[in-house]
Symmetry: C3
């Protein structure tokens, strides 16, 4: 029997939103430590690694390690039926071929349950080596999201340059080329102010970019609840692009 109850159910909705466009299907591995998911996107450019810690749930019971093979588009559709203030419970029997999602309104006057078939997925768990990164950039997630969107107008890849003075994001393409420079101090002190602008439902206010030469960039969003307590993380590992004639 597996059962996990999350009072701030909107967190699961946001986590789902953050991966559903990248992954079609994935296994949620449930153990005493929590629920985790690891999968390559279909174009094999990004590795998603997601962790929801068991002590981040109000109730968490996992009698036996389970691997739930899930069509993420379907799970996302079902989670959209939960209100933002609903309590979400995930439940599965040990040998189940289905998982049940239960949504309770805060006043318990509306209780919904959705049963979804599980999939048999061949998954190989990739070992992610511990890496000492040369440079770690922490910045408001809204700012990062905006920079990516702005530069995507120019091209489909971005060069991130980290110096002592700050960070520079650059892109080029048919339209022309562009650079966005962030002064270092700004990103450290004023982050909360800047965040308000753009992301409607960020996983967290802060993103960290960890990078070294010739090693995948790690983009990490902490999953925090309203009180700011850590519930886990979503990490994206992005392989560096090999350009033929990059200056």
């Amino acid at each position: 029997m597996f059962e996990a109850r999350l009072v701030e159910g909107s967190l699961l909705k946001k986590v789902m939103e953050s991966i559903k466009d990248l992954l079609n299907e994935a296994s949620w591995d449930c153990s005493g430590n929590g629920m985790c998911l690891q999968a390559m996107d279909s174009s094999h450019v990004a590795l998603v690694s997601l962790m929801l810690k068991s002590d981040g749930f109000e109730n968490y019971r996992c009698d036996r390690n389970l691997s739930l093979g899930i069509n993420l588009a379907s799970m996302s559709k079902i989670l959209k039926c939960a209100s933002n203030d609903d309590i979400i419970t995930i439940r599965a029997d040990d040998d189940a071929d289905a998982v049940t999602f239960i949504f309770e309104s805060p006043k318990q006057d509306r209780v919904s349950d959705y049963e979804m078939k599980l999939m048999n997925l061949d998954t190989e768990h990739l070992g992610i080596p511990d890496t000492e990164y040369a440079c770690i950039i922490k910045m408001p997630s809204g700012e990062f999201s905006r920079i990516c969107r702005d530069l995507s107008v120019l091209g489909d890849s971005v060069i991130i340059c980290c110096t002592k003075d700050g960070v520079r994001f650059s892109a080029k393409g048919d339209l022309g080329n562009g650079n966005i420079k962030l002064a270092q101090s700004a990103n450290v002190d004023k982050e909360d102010e800047a965040v308000v602008v753009d992301m409607p439902a960020p996983l967290s206010n802060q993103v960290s970019l960890s990078m070294s030469e010739d090693v995948p960039l790690m983009v990490e969003y902490k999953i925090n609840d309203k009180e700011g307590d850590s519930k886990g993380y979503v990490r994206y590992y992005l392989a560096p692009k090999i350009e033929d004639s990059e200056s």
Copy 2:
């Protein structure tokens, strides 16, 4: 001469929105009692029955019974040209082949008139038998709208189960199956609170579902003005679906 003047013109806009996706064209039957419209949708699953009472209008004059054959998509487009705070007047001569809509801004500084050609429609007025329903569910219209939207993710039909404890809406399909249970008390006491959530422009805060075994479900929205006074209703009669192997 027919002339009907509605100070809260937005009501007519909302009524139009509530039927225009279901019906292509229909006759508005105008008499001393008011304006009424009755028509089957093109798939012959739903019967729409709409009533705007003559005493719900500020001025109402109907010298002779009239039947105005109207393309509802066209009428809807024209009504979108009225502001929400406009006063709307509908006017037609007794033998007219056109109807005129007049929109006056509250301060009378902008007056618009739109003339629309009428259609010749063969309409048979269906007698709707008075029915004693076994069960009548009253609930916030926003809640009902949301339940239908949520369950439409799973399938295109819904089973409504009414017991002493409350109501259960169920659907199933390829994705899985789902149930939404509403406790009885909740729907009676807290309706206004719950309504705020989802419907941008409901005809009214309340919907009532009247049902009996093997009889069309009647879904009724009262048309109320800002003061809550009754101006009429929109009723949808939905034939029960005959499932081949429904459990």
Copy 3:
């Protein structure tokens, strides 16, 4: 060397929005007086004439007259990368084949630069004769925008009739025909109130329509900053439509 710095950068974004759907490419002619642009739309119905006065910029330097041939869709995409509160600088060398846009956040913690290739455009500057118009209508730009949108439901041309009592806009088509009448006083006194309704980002609250029989209608929006100071204008000259059997 050409360099023009606009502290209220959102003005340039709005100006761009106001022409980009009408024109594909155009020359910005830069001189000591300011930046101006004049071009026919691709269907040769509208002439756009735009002026940004040099003294409307905080810094303005133009060593030699320049003509910057620009793909307006590209420029619009780049300007979308500027925040609404960014300071925008346009810079070009005298013999440059590229123009640079620099966006600075108000606190200088984010500086972006975008370089865009210039185009070689054959442009003939049309002389616009000074015209004494028989009738000039000033009205809230939101009201005008709304009238055009409403009447476009009926047909693709509109007749503007100007009398001592006010203005009448008329259109007709398959759906029927419509007239919108504005009383004269209303448009003079209450303009600010009416404007709020519809235009998300108007160039200015006021539009003026200048017209005479058989002469292009001139639709003028002043470009004003937040303090209401004039920075220039955007004018659209629209050739009157010759109807075959217009009543």
